[in-house]
């Protein structure tokens, strides 16, 4: 197998299974490919295995069977610290370091990677602007920020060392509807500019349709189907159809997807 093929999938799951130490299976026989520059949304309810899938990519979990490959190389044999630093990671609870300022939070990975103070400072300013925050925010502490601002910092921190891959686990799930809507729009336009390979976990079909290039529908630790947003709405798959029904007429906004 050739590593680092330019045209190959960026992330690849080959017959991957994951079970808890007590033997309870959370994920079985997963085969999935994520291509360069796309936003793949993992959609499913809690317990469907979407977060497990995400954590297998940056090896917060290790598969009990099968192989996960990133840029063609099996993650099992790659240096786990290097792997994680090359992948941005954003979670619902944000997990900002409460004892660090915004600047230190965003600059942590660059700092341990040995960047100069001046380069870190420039990068932090650049990122704050990118995620729509004022530069003065740099000296604030996380507890002085609103939920939406915190998640913006979370995204900036994940982008700090310019990773080609971004993993996002319900990043906007804990925000109020208006802030969520705004952040989704901004993220969508940001993604068009940055062209990262994104794996995005959500249980919200609206969010999936809005942000995803493709939607991978999961249920009970299995991948049910992978569809484009357009095909998802027309799908005959009973589970996909159930999702569309459940979200009902709230899906009108999907018609003008991409045009804010």
């Amino acid at each position: 197998m050739q590593a680092n093929t330019v045209d190959g999938p960026v992330i690849e799951f080959c017959d991957v299974a994951y079970a808890l130490p007590n033997g309870q299976p959370l994920l079985s026989r997963l085969n999935l490919q994520v291509h360069r520059g796309e936003t793949l949304v993992l959609l499913g309810r809690s317990g469907s295995g979407k977060t497990t899938t995400l954590k297998l990519i940056n090896r917060l979990l290790n598969p009990s069977a099968g192989e996960v490959r990133v840029n063609g190389a099996p993650t099992a044999v790659s240096d786990v610290i290097r792997l994680r630093r090359s992948i941005g990671y954003v979670i619902q609870d944000v997990g900002l370091f409460p004892h660090f300022t915004v600047e230190k939070n965003i600059g942590l990975v660059p700092r341990i990677e040995g960047w100069t103070a001046e380069r870190i400072h420039r990068r932090v300013e650049e990122l704050l602007q990118l995620v729509g925050l004022e530069v003065q925010m740099a000296s604030r502490y996380p507890h002085q920020l609103s939920g939406g601002q915190r998640q913006r910092v979370g995204v900036a921190r994940a982008l700090a060392a310019d990773p080609a891959i971004l993993l996002m686990d319900e990043p906007f799930g804990a925000l109020d509807a208006l802030t969520r809507d705004q952040l989704q729009r901004e993220f969508s336009s940001l993604q068009r500019r940055l062209n990262k390979t994104v794996v995005f976990v959500t249980h919200d079909l609206r969010e999936a349709l809005r942000l995803g290039s493709r939607i991978a529908l999961m249920e009970s630790g299995r991948l049910v189907t992978v569809l484009s947003p357009e095909d998802f709405l027309r799908s005959n798959d009973p589970l996909a159809a159930a999702y569309v029904r459940a979200f009902g007429n709230g899906l009108d906004s999907v018609a003008n997807r991409g045009e804010p």
């Binding site: 994680r84 979670i91 997990g95 370091f97 409460p98």
Partner: protein, 210 residues
């Protein structure tokens, strides 16, 4: 003769015994911190160690202090000098609050913060030094504070084996049925305990993560 009178008249001796007292408490606390924090980290990160470590520290705590001094007396190198012995005993008593609070402090760090740090590619060492310990610091310090306050009291008993400290006055006073003398040892000890409590409490507040 009033107590104040006595303290002023014997200020040389009061000072000497106070310094001895501080020496016993200071060295034993330092040793308890050096041993207890790593043990606390060990039990917080590897649950297998949790029961044996905290269990042992708990059992030590239940041994009456006079009995512990007695047990340690025949130990070769230790028994040679009373202050060594007293310091070891005080260290053993101080371990439990230090270990327990280090454990609690580290376990109390928001799991999302730890997960984010791990996901960003921090090594275990970086996670410990840059995230877990700084965030647990105020809880650890409150354990140290408890250890110091308890040690100041316990160290008075060290005089029973001739290790010096303010307990000297207390035991002499007991032998001579002289309340003044007992208070001359007890009151400075209480002042020491209160100032340590206040000082470390202040530091703890300052270090509280926001």
């Amino acid at each position: 003769m009033t107590l104040l009178h006595f303290l002023l008249q014997n200020h040389d001796q009061v000072l000497e015994l106070t310094l001895e007292h501080l020496w016993l408490v200071g060295v034993s606390t330092l040793l308890a911190v050096l041993v207890g924090i790593p043990l606390g980290i060990l039990s917080a990160h590897w649950p297998v160690w949790n029961k044996p470590v905290l269990g042992t520290a708990n059992i030590i705590q239940t041994i009456p202090s006079l009995a512990l001094f007695g047990f340690l007396l025949p130990v070769p190198w230790l028994g040679d000098r009373a202050d060594r012995l007293a310091i070891l005993a005080l260290t053993l008593y101080a371990l439990l609050p230090v270990i327990r609070n280090t454990y609690t402090g580290i376990r109390g760090v928001d799991p999302a913060v730890v997960e984010a740090g791990r996901g960003m590619g921090l090594t275990d060492g970086q996670l410990l030094l840059q995230v877990e310990l700084p965030l647990a610091l105020s809880v650890i310090l409150s354990g140290v504070r408890v250890a110091v306050v308890v040690s100041v009291g316990l160290a008075t008993i060290a005089a029973a084996i001739g290790a010096g400290g303010l307990g000297e006055f207390i035991f002499r006073g007991l032998a001579m049925v002289n309340n003044q003398l007992i208070l001359a040892g007890a009151i400075p000890a209480a002042v020491l305990a209160l100032s340590a409590d206040f000082g470390l409490g202040w530091l703890e507040k300052r270090l509280q993560p926001r």
